[in-house]
Symmetry: C2
Subunit: 153 residues, 2 copies
């Protein structure tokens, strides 16, 4: 379990979701806003607020509502995942192509810095909970919070 700067490992383009192909396959259109949003998320690999994504776009690239709609489409197509830090709206991050793993985050409650925690200890827990409760398709949502070195004291 080694936390690391969120998204510090720049995935190759090949590992990133192929917008064009996926859109075509669903008879959706390849548009400027969608490309710009994906590009912005590639360049800022950490969970971003809709407002932040919009801010990263050349202000006049597209409307805030279009960011909402595009992110939702990307999410339904499995290219983006939604993350909740519990304050100030949902956040979204890219899902690397062919990524079957998930990860968690360690968020500084003072400055908002985010580290990524790759190892998940809860897959066993999910199976155990399924057996004990009779639930199926059990998943989990887990985030860690604390004070980063710069924000202590």
């Amino acid at each position: 379990m080694k936390p690391r700067a969120s998204g510090c490992c720049h995935a190759h383009d090949a590992e990133l979701p192929d917008l064009t192909e996926k859109l075509r396959r669903n008879s959706r259109k390849i548009t400027g806003p969608r490309q710009a949003i994906l590009a912005a998320m590639r360049n800022h690999p950490r969970p971003l607020l809709i407002k932040e994504i919009h801010g990263l776009l050349g202000k006049r690239d597209c409307d805030l509502v279009t960011v909402y709609r595009s992110i939702d489409l990307l999410r339904r197509m499995g290219m983006v995942r939604r993350i909740e830090f519990g304050k100030g709206g949902s956040r979204y991050e890219l899902i690397p192509e062919g990524d079957s793993e998930h990860h968690h985050h360690l968020v500084c409650e003072a400055c908002g810095r985010v580290l990524q925690i790759d190892e998940c200890l809860l897959l066993d827990a999910e199976r155990i909970i399924e057996k004990a409760s009779g639930f199926r398709a059990v998943t989990h949502r887990l985030e860690f919070f604390g004070l980063c070195p710069d924000c202590q004291g």
Copy 2:
């Protein structure tokens, strides 16, 4: 790790937070709405939405805004904790008197049923993450989601 119906164990009154005393100690007033809210939460021991709490009160017991303000006071006084299921607003549940443990929940994504999971496997994880990241005062937020027996198939 044995999930169980959320709040199925009715704590004795003695184990529940003592509103009167705690309010007095902070020079806050013992009012009808506050007593009614606490009573409603006692009778429905699971994470409730503000709207649900308000609904449980005799409609004209108090204003929705008062529920917000009262719950926030109770939370700041350590009698109530906030829980996020990620949809439709924050939820709140009573903290039994002298309770130093926390627990997690298993939520049915179809019907909303909630089981409580008493064991937490992440306290060690917090310590390990602190050592590995340099963060301090690390806490976590964890919920499980799935389909309860009645909602499968």
